[in-house]
Symmetry: C2
Amino acid sequence: MNAPTTTPHLLPRVNQRPVPAALLQALQAQFGERCSTAQVVREQHGRDESSFDVPPPGAVVFARSTAEVAQVLQLAAQHNTPVIPFGVGTSLEGHLLAVEGGISLDVSQMNQVLSINAEDLTVTVQPGVTRKQLNEAVKSTGLFFPIDPGADATIGGMSATRASGTNAVRYGTMRENVLALEVVTASGAVIRTGTQAKKSSAGYDLTRLLVGSEGTLGVITEVTVKLYPLPEAVMAATCSFATLADAVNTTIQIIQLGVPIARCELLDANTVRVVNQHSKLSLREGAMLLMEFHGSPAGVQEQVETVQAIAREHGGETFEWAATPEERTRLWTARHNAYFAGVQSRPGCKAITTDACVPISRLAEALLDSVTEAQAAGIPYFLVGHVGDGNFHMGYLIDPAIPAERETAERLNHQLVARALRLGGTCTGEHGVGLHKMDFLESETGTGAVDMMRAIKRALDPQNILNPGKIFAL
Amino acid sequence: MNAPTTTPHLLPRVNQRPVPAALLQALQAQFGERCSTAQVVREQHGRDESSFDVPPPGAVVFARSTAEVAQVLQLAAQHNTPVIPFGVGTSLEGHLLAVEGGISLDVSQMNQVLSINAEDLTVTVQPGVTRKQLNEAVKSTGLFFPIDPGADATIGGMSATRASGTNAVRYGTMRENVLALEVVTASGAVIRTGTQAKKSSAGYDLTRLLVGSEGTLGVITEVTVKLYPLPEAVMAATCSFATLADAVNTTIQIIQLGVPIARCELLDANTVRVVNQHSKLSLREGAMLLMEFHGSPAGVQEQVETVQAIAREHGGETFEWAATPEERTRLWTARHNAYFAGVQSRPGCKAITTDACVPISRLAEALLDSVTEAQAAGIPYFLVGHVGDGNFHMGYLIDPAIPAERETAERLNHQLVARALRLGGTCTGEHGVGLHKMDFLESETGTGAVDMMRAIKRALDPQNILNPGKIFAL
């Protein structure tokens, strides 16, 4: 790990090329109204949840099949023009922004659940299926798909960013849960990676190379993911603490003892307050752990007793139970909306979101020092954390019209990431690199590893047309 | 999936180049006695547990540090000469064989446990540390490392082949358990992948690209793996069945119900017999499941009750318990030695080992039809399976002096793999491709995906000096 010595990365490098007229003509001939250059459509596809302001792509194509995705890639390759895969636009680090111009390839209409293989605990979907849609589709099987970023993201987008969420502490991230992919390459070839078998040693692990590649190595057109039996017993509770440190230290001990907790989420007092406002809840305002336990009735009972004892040692209040499925849903919906609650707490603001993840033993230092710095800077923020994984997010709420606020937020993020790297962690636990963390990636893994990524990118996309300008500069 | 239409891959293509004298001289100047051209040393490094007979490498270098590995790679690159990483020689598919000549780079002396991070449940080791050595080193922490191929393989070799073993059904394979690597590239550069954090979305997943790359993309010089708390309660049992089908169908139901069983292993009656002989046990001779349950005392009790009920439905006998830790160790040591027990049951034989892995719902068809074919062919074999993962191994015991036996075994393996691929499975669950499964890989994943692997290989090893001739032909 090298210390990040570059200045904070404030604004993306933009170098847009126009979409060649001949390419537009070919796409319009092929896709008709599903190839749009309307300003409003382009603008919808030219922003995500990041705070960056970049002119939109030159055109948007709505694909309905793998064959159509392949056609777009073949045409784009002929005309040497960038293609940016697009799901529902919930990414946070500028992944979707057309910094080099080109075509936004919207796969949200590829939203069929292709096959539910309940007896193998897998499901195969098109990339535009969202996580909620997927869970709705498999509901009757008694199985569920646990990966749950805050937004109702698409499975394609979640694969591309190696997303996780509140259940990852028990069920893993997209890294552990994608079994197989269908992918269209930069030249428009259709390939398949992985099989339906649970494990394999058959050659390079292309599945996991493509998961997290942020649309820079191929366009995902089909995903097979693992499902899990709905637990026999589920219990969810909140627990308030006098200080953030108490909540964090409780978490550390839960994990070190190997308690198979299903969810272990942190909110600070201010975030509890904005979540209460946004979701019309009355959670006790204070540092809080939101927890869920899965298992057999006896197994859940054991986990709860262990965790209650740990929490008591750290001064935790008595658990408040979300007793019914409806109450649980309400609680977790509120947690998932914490990001939006935070953003709405300051009208007109943009959030600059951090995403550090550190080894669990270093979580207290990583998180508490970051809070101290944010408080000293006087910038409004919210704080949520998948703390069971050592992962937390601060959202600095800036007024985009005030450059000094952006600078302060970026400086705080820079300090936070530098600390996480010093502690053996990563600059991004689940959001990806996009535009925002390109410099941090190099600090984290070193030039040698990024050079290896560049070599792979050049080999698989020699024209650099797949979501160019993301993850690293070529 | 394409049907494997090529003829069985009977013998590897061998095209050995001599090691240039100038390279030998440079290595000898650098490494002294640790660079050997002695016939006996070369022959030790020129064979693994596969049945292939290939002339040995031109020289063997024993490295003691990452810097020395980098020196070997730099010299080899200068002299355009292959380098084959070597741990303890337990691979099964010809991974170590010098089909294009070159240097065997023995890292078994790089066998230090570098840091035990008990509070983060990780450990960092040099590549020559074996799995037993690792578990001995972490014993006092109350943690353990679950991945256990039959042999006492090195962590470097296990990473390189994406190995698993009997615990993978609960704890995953090397794919899920390697957190970070240090690797020397084809040009002799030292890079690091991954961090000590549990999850990350920071760029391409080089860790998982290198895990399973069989020494063809880099030489692993350091590995960080996950550890797990020793379970509070452990119970191990065997259960005999009237037929193989009963044992397999019991397994399928255990997995489909989501029982978190820690080990679920199958032996057929003949294999129980040879294991009894080899390990001086008196297991009941019949199709048998060997199982282990991990958890809290109550959790283990629940699992046992569920599994006993399932087994009873399929006519399983009463469980025989391995009550003490010593009895458990004896049972699992016998299971780990099943391969050697099988080989020793036919003096002078070589084993041609299969490694298919299929979705759990197709396990009965995949396994039982393969047994029927082997019995019809009249060739001696043993049968073991990590059946909880849908993975099983048949070892055809051939007399290497009788070509017809090898042909029969290869034909049976070919049929078995073709069936596994038809059922959505893989040609190799955990042994890797090596030389033996190159044609199968192409059938399994298609030319497009293998072409993507080739492009990556060419980009990262343009001279093709890292373990050339393995996984795919370039």
